[in-house]
């Protein structure tokens, strides 16, 4: 018996390593915990996509629960996500603020004309400086922000209806109830 036990040690070690590697296969290395959860949206003062003269400040966004969606026309996943955003904005469940990241104004406008505009406000961050303050490292990224401007959740990658219904919507309703 003891002998069997001894010979099963390598098998056991192998099983442990295999389990860790298998877990690693299913994990997303892009999912990096954001240090901004629980903190306020960084201060900014940027023009909108529609009009270079209209300036939006971070304070202008206070008073409502919204999704802050980082997007760009050069981003393929944003194209895939766009229909979901349009659908969400039509459903009226949440308002979506856009942060157009390192993009071209004309391209962005024609994208919105062609595919629909889900955004209540669309901020134009040409240099990507505000995106750096938000810790953005890819597009699309979406932040859930409460009425006091505090970030509650961050998702890197396109939003799906499943993610919205299962994760975001309960949080949104909770935040709206709290005011």
């Amino acid at each position: 018996m003891n002998q069997y036990l001894r010979y099963s040690i390598p098998l056991f070690v192998f099983a442990v390593i295999a389990a860790f590697l298998y877990k690693g296969l299913g994990m997303n290395p892009r999912e990096i915990p954001s240090p901004l959860i629980g903190k306020s949206v960084p201060e900014f003062s940027l023009p909108t996509v529609e009009d270079a003269e209209t300036i939006v400040k971070s304070d202008n966004l206070l008073g409502k629960v919204y999704l802050l969606n980082v997007w760009a026309t050069w981003c393929v996943s944003c194209r895939a996500e766009h229909q979901t955003l349009v659908h969400l904005s039509r459903s009226g469940k949440v308002e979506i603020v856009g942060l157009n990241w390192k993009d071209d104004r004309d391209k962005a406008l024609s994208w919105l004309n062609r595919l629909g505009d889900p955004y209540v406000i669309n901020i134009f961050d040409k240099k990507g400086r505000t995106a750096i303050d938000l810790g953005v490292y890819g597009a699309p990224e979406t932040f859930l922000v409460d009425s006091k401007g505090v970030i509650h959740y961050k998702h890197a990658g396109p939003i799906s209806m499943e993610l919205f219904n299962e994760t975001l919507l309960p949080m949104i309703e909770d935040l709206k109830r709290k005011g």
Binding site: I32, P33, P35, K127, G128, R129, G135, Y137
Partner: protein, 159 residues
């Protein structure tokens, strides 16, 4: 054909060797360029996660390098730059993670594995030396002597 492959190899090497030159970032103060290099080399590019900020050609890495350059030019020191980056991108940007409960496995894991290995090795060696020291019983010793007497080395016979 060989020349073709050699050329191809050099062409493949070229972009990466170009990326690691930070020569375009110059500082008036002595030591600052060194600090800049250390900081950017110790930070991870978040787009291509296996490259440092110093070595990456990703657009975000270029932006972040410029941002860090501007900060250091404006007189901020290394620690302030690191705080700036960590407050936005988290500990993940650091190749050398800080020591805290969530990073204990990274820091102490290898040591623990090493200790386990040491204990196992020690026990195996101890058991081996114990078997070697085991005395033969009188019967066994007699049998051994007999066997040794009977046995003859074939090489001796051939002579």
């Amino acid at each position: 054909m060989r020349t073709f492959f050699l050329t191809l190899m050099f062409l493949l090497i070229l972009p990466s060797s170009h990326a690691s030159t930070l020569a375009e970032y110059t500082f008036d103060e002595p030591g600052k360029a060194e600090d800049f290099r250390t900081v950017t080399e110790e930070m991870r590019c978040l787009v291509c996660q296996n490259e440092s900020l110093a070595g990456s050609n990703a657009e975000l890495a270029v932006d972040l390098r410029n941002e860090i350059y501007d900060m250091m030019k404006a007189g901020r020191n290394k620690d302030e730059v690191i705080d700036f980056m960590v407050s936005r991108y988290g500990d993940f940007v650091l190749y050398r993670p800080p020591l805290k409960p969530s990073t204990y496995p990274i820091w102490f894991g290898p040591l623990i594995v090493f200790l386990i290995g040491g204990v196992v090795l020690f026990r195996i060696l101890k058991r081996k030396s114990l078997t070697r020291e085991t005395k033969l019983s009188t019967d066994e010793q007699h049998r051994l002597d007999d066997l040794l007497e009977q046995s003859t080395d074939p090489r001796d016979n051939n002579q």
